[in-house]
Symmetry: C2
Subunit: 724 residues, 2 copies
């Protein structure tokens, strides 16, 4: 890519961004769109536009985003979102502080040397452009100017250490503060017990759990809930809910028909066969009512049966106070370590019920199997795609689907198909990848949604780094030179370092595209807007259906974080080789931070709260990116025949030590709740009924609450202990 | 080594063994030697010879050793010794069960083939002897007879899995039973708190610890003991004890002198200068009395000062009940993970006071530094020894110590020196190695003696495996072919497998020597006997001095276990290649088990109790030996051009899975006390004064007990909670 096409691409992206911003400003002021642009505010019962539409100047959202304090963010979108913003601002901070030194120092040093000119004058000018002149590639091999580049690595690294240490401390405090707030959170009073052994005395699981925990926690044990096999109940409940929705829909249609066509109205009808296409025609309202009654009875029977006969080997155990639950969750209970596994309970809405009952060895086998599959997917993902691509050609299409021949032969269609058919498999695969990774992470047997998302995000990160970063950088060369690398692992670093500078411009364009077009779309919410209006016009009849149509969803950290990580990795790796990338990184993370704040305040609603459990994950990936950068720079300095290149080695060692120190200082308080935190501000005795009720799955709700009378004992028991 | 010299060596060893056995039978019946042969019984107040000397037939000890139940062993020598016996009997069981199948099957298969005859007939007969004919080396390459040897690996492995699984379960139960006994053990009521942060409010450490733990454990916190810097107090105390002993000695000497020389007696005198050689002559009794008074006052002052001004950043915290202490020791306390590190308290006699106050990062740095030193020691230990050997030649001796010339030139002395001087460095190094490893393990900052011994034993195991086993097997070839190995790691396995069979006879002789001579010496206790009689005759005057002279010591697991491990590794590795080694292994572990039982019942007194914490360590090393064996067999079968050799790979995988499964089932209950165990049989409320007093170091004893009045509050507090 030469310089002019780079500028063209940049300008185009910028124009699109400005256009999308204008669209956003215009559309977000229309009251009919408020549910798309301010769903979070509306759900929290706030006025979408503070001070009325007139005060909403085009840049008001920027002011609002800046003005919000961290406490506002936590209140609006939870600690996880606040931590995501800290991640963005930390990376932003690293790049700003790196840029302040690197840009004014390294650019002149590179520009005033002329390695490219001398080297390429005789060959061709094609690979030499103005951007490359500002990069490290322009410095002569073995030149003492390389000292500046070596020291730049130290500067970038130490800036990173400083920022990350501060950020980890900040997040740790944020987490502690949030966790020690006096609000009653059900998960603070519960522990998850898995791998309950078969009872030799033939007690029911419920009795077994109760007697076991009552014996070991005589003062603080309150009540238990044995996990039951709810598959059947869930199925009935979902069917029931479906009919309830259908009934509401049909009733609205009937009421409307009274006003539009004839005064007595047309009763809606439907067919009860496959997909409503075949079978007998019935009156929808009558049919639904009938079904609802029938299913409600069935559900009640099933609920009773589940509670009695379908008890599984896992349970939730409730304690009368926070410290007792924290302490229990961290204490080994059984002599046989693979029984009575006790862990902190996830939030009720995070629980993945079907994973709770998986046995300990099953979980381990699943985990390793999933790791194997992910490894194969990451490394060999091109193989099946190439195979499918070889099949999905225009010729095959014509041969196997002859009826399409006339359509395909139209010239315009043919051109498009020829361009996109080979990539179809790739596009489909990339679109399905996040779902596949979520599925795989869930299949590991992880009990909480938040953990699944972290696991999926980790897998996606590996995929992106391996395939996008390494794929683009080394490109085809890597595969052909696999043999050389296998014999001489050191040459891989050299190969990578060698091909790095050639791709700087590509990545600068990539980063710019990401923030201009990506953020433009993110802020303007064009896709959700169009979908909402289509749904509203053609599908939704009831209030609930409209609400479901504008449901904002959450941030989607599983894919969002790895994408940011890729940009971060790219900017890190080029920060010294081609410092001109730094401003683009700054804009990416600056703009990202601003827009994410806006979305946190106005749009997205978190689907769960893990109190920043994502942070150690982010932290270690930033450090990993830093180390990749340092290793590449070590290789590249070596290629430049700089004899002091080994001075990079202590820096790499320091990075590992830093990572280790951070872990040993902070990590365990993310893994387990410290007793200190659990003890803070827990004066009031919670309503343990509501704690218990929070964990009842919706399909079992009416039945299980009847059991709540047991709680009274537990409760009084507690107050007795506490008054001692 | 040819067959006849092998038999000669075996016969010699056996004769020595029989002679030592006779010596033992004869000497152990003399009442004057009872303190050497039955110290453990005497210390426990039992009659040394049950049923009087006449009933003590030469083989009575064998009957007694067999008759003792596991409970007797635990009562006599603790759980650790019982676990060591389980280790011996498990390995014995593995070898017996392996031998039952391997000997009758593999020996005929090997003997009836004749690879050696055809291969070596043309060359020489030197390396071919009758033992080799019974080994796998005698089977033709690629022969289908190798199937039997392949399957033998599976048999040995599955026997090992079975025996180890049973043993782990047994040890785990033994540990749980011992730990849940109603006896009050101080360490069950205490936790060790390290890394106490600097208090911002300027409280004393004691106040800080008390307020922190009172807040987090309001019901169960009882009392704390802040670790003080006792260096000064210890020094004074030791000096004081020394003078006390000296005084007692001098008084006995004085009393004796009254009966022997003149009726008024000779008052003993000594010089107070360097080593008692120079300086003024004083009356010993007066001098000691004077010093004792002086030091007692000094100690009292120092004790007060230590308690006030020398409080360190570590403490022992006492709880009113076992489960509370267990729970606290496993719960994360502080938000900053590197502060308030809480762990289970070691036994009072295991505490290494000077390590308690080491900070968390210091401990980690020390640990890695020690690992580095050990790695270098294991791999390069020959380098300094070779250097020293090059220096300690006869010529150098004569040159630098010319006054020895006349002595050295005597022919007999010269011969001896020429033989032993070059090996002097090696002998000294090997003698000092266990002490060096203990020192290094202690330097890691480990707070408990038992843990230090495990760590030292692990290091010694690496040393022995690397240097003795690999050293002998591969010998010089390994060092010369280092380059080949670096390029082709696979060839290391081949090289090793290739040189294995040649050394079978050497190792058979080694094993036989170990059990005949080693066990003979162990049982006859000739060295301790001689030392005791010499001391008694020339040095000991007081009762206490005599008692110290026959103090039996403990088993010395730090060196004993790795030595057994080496034999085990050798027998494992040769079990299929040369099954004739199995009977020798059986005798080694059988005899070892029998003698260890005798020593446990009659001789050794354990210096601490860790309730079988050594077992996971032993278990994982047995599995490691098994895997080394499997890998070597894989290589050797490959060398034998057996195309089904890859069938060994699943076996290796199974071994890893087995190891992993054992760990996840049992290990954590060795690391932490399960709540279940802590709750068993703790009806009585312990006397917490004695628990506290048990932890007071001897040098601080009189002072600290004064503090015990605080305990009363804690105590009553407890009973209140328990009655709720």
């Amino acid at each position: 890519m030469d310089f002019s096409s780079f500028l063209t691409s940049l300008a185009t992206s910028f124009v699109i961004f400005v256009a999308l911003m204008l669209v956003f400003t215009w559309l977000s002021r229309k009251p009919g769109n408020h549910v798309v642009y301010f769903p979070s505010r509306i759900l929290r019962g706030l006025d979408p536009l503070e001070g009325g539409p007139l005060s909403r100047s085009p840049l008001a959202w920027i002011r609002a985003a800046f003005a919000a304090s961290e406490a506002d963010i936590v209140a609006a979108a939870g600690v996880d979102t606040a931590v995501y913003l800290i991640f963005l601002s930390s990376v932003l901070g690293i790049f700003v502080m790196s840029g302040i030194i690197l840009l004014p120092v390294l650019l002149p040093i590179a520009a005033t040397d002329n390695s490219f000119k001398t080297a390429f004058d005789t060959n061709s000018n094609a690979t030499f452009n103005n951007l490359d002149k500002l990069a490290m590639g322009n410095v002569h091999a073995g030149s003492s100017r390389l000292w500046a580049f070596l020291l730049a690595n130290y500067w970038v690294s130490f800036v990173t250490f400083y920022v990350l240490w501060q950020a980890y401390k900040h997040v740790s405090d944020l987490r502690a503060t949030a966790r020690s707030s006096p609000a009653v959170r059900p998960e603070d009073y519960a522990v998850l017990v898995r791998d309950i052994p078969t009872d030799p005395q033939g007690q029911s699981k419920k009795e077994q759990v109760d007697s076991y925990f009552k014996a070991l926690h005589p003062d603080s044990f309150c009540k238990s809930m044995v996990i039951t096999d709810n598959k059947q109940a869930n199925k009935i409940w979902e069917e029931l809910e479906g009919y309830k929705k259908k009934l509401a829909h049909a009733e609205v249609v009937y009421t409307e028909s009274k006003t539009t066509s004839k005064p007595e109205g047309t009763r809606p009808t439907n067919r009860i066969g496959f997909l409503g296409l075949i079978g007998a025609k019935v009156d929808t309202i009558d049919h639904c009512n009938e079904k609802i009654n029938e299913l409600a009875t069935k559900l009640e029977i099933e609920q009773k049966e589940a509670d009695k006969d379908k008890q599984q080997n896992a349970a939730l155990v409730f304690f009368s106070n926070r410290p007792a639950a924290v302490s229990a969750s961290q204490t080994l209970h059984a002599q046989m370590v693979d029984t009575w596994t006790v862990t902190e309970a996830p939030e009720p809405r995070q629980l993945i019920w079907e994973n709770l009952t998986k046995k300990v060895y099953e979980r381990q086998i699943r985990q390793y199997a999933v790791y194997g599959i992910v490894f194969l997917t990451v490394v060999f993902y091109m193989v099946p795609i190439a195979a499918v691509s070889a099949f999905t050609t225009l010729e095959n299409l014509k041969r196997y689907l002859p009826f399409l021949k006339s359509v395909v032969d139209i010239k315009a269609v043919k051109t498009v198909l020829e361009a996109y058919l080979p990539q179809l498999a790739l596009i489909v695969f990339l679109a399905l990848l996040p779902a596949l990774l979520m599925f795989l992470s869930k299949a590991e047997g992880i009990p909480s949604q938040g953990h699944v998302i972290r696991a999926a995000s980790g897998k996606y990160f590996y995929f992106i780094v391996f395939n996008v970063f390494l794929g683009v950088t080394v490109g085809g060369t890597l595969y052909t030179s696999m043999k050389t690398i296998a014999n001489k692992p050191k040459s891989a670093v050299n190969l990578l370092a060698d091909s790095l500078p050639q791709n700087a411009t590509f990545f600068v364009t990539y980063v710019a595209l990401q923030f201009f077009v990506g953020y433009g779309l993110e802020l303007s919410r064009l896709v959700p807007l169009i979908i909402f209006h289509l749904k509203k016009k053609f599908l939704c009849k009831t209030e609930a259906e409209v609400k479901a149509a504008w449901a904002p969803g959450d941030f989607g950290f599983a894919t969002r974080v790895p994408k940011d990580m890729l940009i971060m990795l790219v900017v890190f790796c080029y920060s010294v080789i081609s410092p001109i990338i730094i401003p683009f990184g700054v804009v990416y993370f600056g703009l990202g931070w601003l827009i994410a704040r806006n979305q946190a305040l106005d749009v997205y609603v978190p689907s769960f709260e893990s109190y920043g459990r994502m942070w150690p994950h982010m932290h270690s990936r930033i450090v990993a990116a830093l180390i990749i950068f340092q290793v590449l720079m070590f290789g590249y300095l070596g290629l430049k025949k700089f004899v002091y290149a080994p001075l990079m080695i202590p820096l790499i060692v320091i990075s590992f030590v830093f990572s280790y120190a951070c872990n040993s200082r902070f990590y365990r308080s993310f893994l387990n709740t410290p007793l200190e935190v659990a003890f803070k501000d827990t004066k009031e005795i919670p309503n343990l009924d509501s704690v218990y009720a929070a964990y009842i799955p919706p399909s079992l709700k009416p039945e299980k609450t009847e059991n709540a009378d047991h709680l009274e004992e537990g409760h009084t028991n507690v107050s007795k202990t506490e008054t001692v």
